[in-house]
Structure formats: structure tokens, C-alpha cells
Symmetry: C2
Subunit: 307 residues, 2 copies
């Protein structure tokens, strides 16, 4: 197996592109894929202020590395979720990466700053931890971007993440979510900054290979709360299917974006108003995050939630 | 495991309905599912002339049985595809079923009446046999309905068939096919009769169980040309996924029909004109079936096709 570019011994084969790459040209290939996504979807300009959601995993650190190499100035924000050793290790990876490269990393601490952890929220609401975590991340990372005066919140979701989310939304035909599944969500003008996903053309194993080849130390363990998570199961199914049909995930996701997504956008946007508690846009009196926070902070430790 | 209705020993468990049924009540259950599909989608009235596409397999024979029991008068049409023993056996099953119940069965013979078999067509076009077969079936069964003065063409596609087709169309985001994936396709007024699928609420293993319990002799073997067929592979994947999440296929299909299908219908219908050869509606000068026929009949036996 030889590198498509230089014919040297390849480090990785990418079957959906019917190509293999050596170390150097894999790095170049991923940089080009990210640059192309930014350009294709007009994600941002170099003059804009960019904030990256950093988890300490391979995707966000690889993306930070690539964007920096492409010449963008990107600050990071790490959200400490209060998930024991997993959070400590991923925070340390994020801080170490930023320190070595002289990059700015802000830290938000869910237990300290908001009074509850993801395990607290899962217990209090009896919802899956992933649901409480996703809701908190969306809210707090946007909050960090708004308060820091950033133009754009950059997220590290990759092709596998987006294909799995799309699949989940298609299986349920969740029209509202389908309407919002885009590589770029424009700023709303009333509290949400623009949100972009530059890794949309890059698969999970490619960011992992990139991180390894670049010597990036990332948190390798999966979050311990993710077991049985629906999105993870969908990812496993799709990966099995992809083995039979290389390119299927990409075809599924980009076919949607090119031919179907506009149709779902026709769905009327719900009327948004200001959350009575925090002032951010919501369809309810109090936004979902403030409700989650209230229940998670109020629930005494060990309580199984109020249903 | 006890029957949901009479608490007798159950013959089959249907996990997506969280129910089990004895012989008698499974039969009643399937009859009710078919009656409900006919009513929900206003498929046809008892006064209309109905023609059923009969393959000799479990689905079409079970459906013929159920519709007859529900009091509908339904004639059948069997299309002989020229696939060796498989075609001979499935024809014999169809004829035997009709004879025993005193039902009308017309026979169309692809090799005799049209001059080519499905294997001929696959060879001549170098397309998959399933593609040539599907195209021929759609054309010829409609032709039989039109020429026989029928109002409705009834097809035996079940829940698994429709979910797999939908999945295939979604993975490719084939908007035109998605717009036409309905349990009822209205007559076009220029050559297509109404086409309906009353088994849409019934899974494959349920029609199999029904056929066995009713003593219906059907062709048990799968078509020998189907190996590697994409739709079959999708069916297998979906069945694996369904085992983890009972009801997923039904939720996927009916979620589409209830919440998404209308959006795809907005896609402009292509301009249809009469095929220069047979006069049926087509978007091209000569319709796809007449092109397939011309190539399949012209190609000498053994020729690998003209690409």
C-alpha cells in the first residue's frame, strides 16, 4: 500500500476515497479537507474571532492543530463536566496542548460555576447522561462564545458523528432536528453565535491517526457514562455497513446536505422568546438548560430525581 | 408466552407490538392490520375491480387469502420471469392456490409474450437481475391491470420491503423515489392505474407464519438471482438493528409517511409523454421497459450485452 501522492509506504488507507497516504500526506490531506469544508460552507473568515469547544479528545485537539496550521487564530474553551478521572484527564490533555502551542484556553467548570455535574443532572432528571451533557455543552459553550465576544463557535464533530446524528434523526423523522443539521448554523441575532463544524469531511479514524502522527496527547478512553448510548450504537451499525459499502456515510450525509436539507428548512421556525431566568432564546418560559440546572442543583445527593 | 387475546399458548411473538398470538388470533390480527391499512390510506372500495400481483411467495398468497376473507373479490396475475425451476415452482404454487379457492389467475409469460427472460435482460444490459426484474414487473403488471380494465393494482410488499426500500432511498437521498414511496400511488390518468400496498403494516415473518398456519403452499426458496442484492443486504442490516430496538422499522417507515413524505412530494413531477413504441407515459422518447426489451431480445444468447 503506497501513498497516493509520493508513492512512499502508506500509513493509512482511506477506502471511501480509494486512497492511501503516508504520514506527511495524510496530514496534508486532512488539512485540505478542513480548508475545503470551511470554504464550501463559508464557515468563517480569518478576521473573525473564533472559539473552539475543546474536549481533550482526538477530534477537538486535531482540529485545533489543523486550524492553527491553516493560519487561523483560534481560542479554546474547555467545559469540565464533573465526570471523575475522565474529566481530570481530558482537562489535563487540553491544558497541556494549549500550553505547548501557546494557545488561549478558557475553562468553565460545570460543578463549580453552575453547581452540578453531568452525573448529578442524569440522576436528578432520570434522563441519559448524554442528553444532560449535550444540553449543557450546547448552552455553556454558546454562553462562553457570546460573553467572550466571539463571532463563531467552532465544534469538533466529525463525519461519523454527523452521519450517526443524521441517521438517528432520520429513523425518528425528527423534522425540527433535520432542519437544523447543517455544517453552519447562522447566528440568530438574539443570543446564539454562528456554529460551525469544519471536520465534517473527516472520519473518526482519520482524526485519531492524525493525532497519533502529530504526537498529540489526547484522552483516549471513551467517556465512562456513554455505555449503551443510542448514538454510539448507531455509529457501530453504520461502521459495519460502511465496511461493506465504503463511502456510504459520506454519501448519506452529503446527499442529505445537497439534496434534502433545504426541504426540511421549510418547516416553520418556532417562535423564540427570552428565558425568564437567563434571557437566552427559548420556546418555553424557562429554557431547557435553566430547568436542567434547577432540577440538578436542587436534587439532594443520592436522590433519584423527581421524574 | 400466552396469546394476548385468549391467553392460550401463543404461536408467535411480535415484539414491536409487545404482544404474542395463538394461531387463531394471529390470523385475526393480520386481517385487522390489512383492513386498517386499506382504511387508513383509503386504498380501494369493495366495488372497485382489484388485480393482485402474485409471485407464488408467502406475501402475495397470504395477502390474496386475507383480502378474500375480508370479502374483497380479487383477481390475480402471475408474471413468469423465466428463472428456471424457481419460476416453474412459484407458478405452480400460484396456480394451485387459485384453483383450490376458485380464484381467477391470469398468466403473463415474459419469455413467451415479450421474447426475453430476466436472465437474458441482466446479461444484455449488464445490470443486476433485480433491476431488470423490478422494471419488467412494474411495467407488465400495470399493463395487465390497464388491459384487464382493473381500477387498482394490489401489491404484496410488506413492512420489511418498504422499510428497506425507504432506507436505500434515504441513504442515497433519491428525492424522486422518496416522493413516490407511498402505500397508495394514485392513477395518473394517462396509463398508470392506482397502485396499493395493503401489507405495509405487516412484517415478513408474520406473513410467513400466517401462510404456514393457514396451510398455504408457497415457494419457500429465495429467487436464485437475488444473491448480493443491495435491498436484501439492507434488509439484513435492518433486521439486526430491529433486534436491538423492536419497532424501529415501523417507526422509521410510518414516521416518514406521517411527517416527511409530504415534503418530498413538493418536488416537481417530471413532464411525461407517450412512449414512441408502446404509448405508456415516460420521460424519454422510448420508455425504460421498451428499451430493456429491445436490448434483451436483440442480444444473441450468450452475448455479454452492449454495455
Amino acid at each position: 500500500m503506497r501513498c497516493r501522492v509520493c508513492r512512499e509506504k502508506a500509513a493509512i488507507r482511506i477506502r471511501r476515497h480509494n486512497a492511501a497516504f503516508c504520514r506527511e500526506h495524510l496530514i496534508e490531506h486532512l488539512r485540505r479537507q478542513v480548508a475545503r469544508a470551511i470554504e464550501d460552507y463559508q464557515m468563517f473568515a480569518g478576521s473573525e474571532r473564533l472559539l473552539l469547544g475543546v474536549s481533550g479528545g482526538k477530534d477537538s485537539l486535531a482540529l485545533w492543530d489543523i486550524l492553527t496550521d491553516l493560519g487561523y487564530r483560534v481560542d479554546g474553551v474547555y467545559l469540565h463536566l464533573g465526570i471523575g478521572d475522565y474529566s481530570s484527564r481530558s482537562k489535563a490533555c487540553s491544558e497541556e496542548f494549549a500550553r505547548r502551542r501557546g494557545l488561549e484556553l478558557g475553562i468553565v467548570d460545570l460543578p463549580e460555576d453552575y453547581g452540578f455535574s453531568v452525573p448529578d443532572a442524569a440522576r436528578a432528571t432520570q434522563r441519559s447522561p448524554c442528553s444532560a451533557c449535550g444540553l449543557s455543552k450546547r448552552y455553556i459553550l454558546n454562553e462562553a462564545a457570546v460573553c467572550g465576544g466571539y463571532d463563531v463557535l467552532v465544534m469538533g464533530h466529525n463525519l461519523d458523528d454527523e452521519a450517526a446524528t443524521l441517521f438517528g434523526n432520520v429513523v425518528n423523522w425528527n423534522i425540527e432536528y433535520l432542519a437544523r443539521q447543517r455544517p453552519v448554523l447562522p447566528a440568530t441575532g438574539n443570543g446564539f453565535v454562528r456554529k460551525v463544524k469544519p471536520l465534517i469531511r473527516v472520519a473518526e479514524r482519520e482524526t485519531a491517526a492524525y493525532a497519533v502522527l502529530r504526537g498529540i496527547e489526547y484522552e483516549v478512553e471513551e467517556c465512562p457514562m456513554v455505555a449503551g448510548n443510542t448514538l454510539n450504537r448507531i455509529k457501530e451499525w453504520l461502521t459495519t455497513v460502511e465496511q461493506d459499502s465504503p463511502g456510504l456515510k459520506q454519501q448519506f450525509l452529503f446527499g442529505f446536505l445537497e439534496r434534502a436539507a433545504d426541504g426540511f428548512e421549510a418547516v416553520a421556525e418556532a417562535d423564540l422568546r427570552a428565558c425568564e431566568h437567563c434571557g437566552r432564546p427559548t420556546t418555553a418560559e424557562v429554557c431547557a438548560f435553566c430547568r436542567l440546572r434547577r432540577r440538578s442543583v436542587e436534587a439532594p445527593v443520592g436522590e433519584r430525581g423527581d421524574g
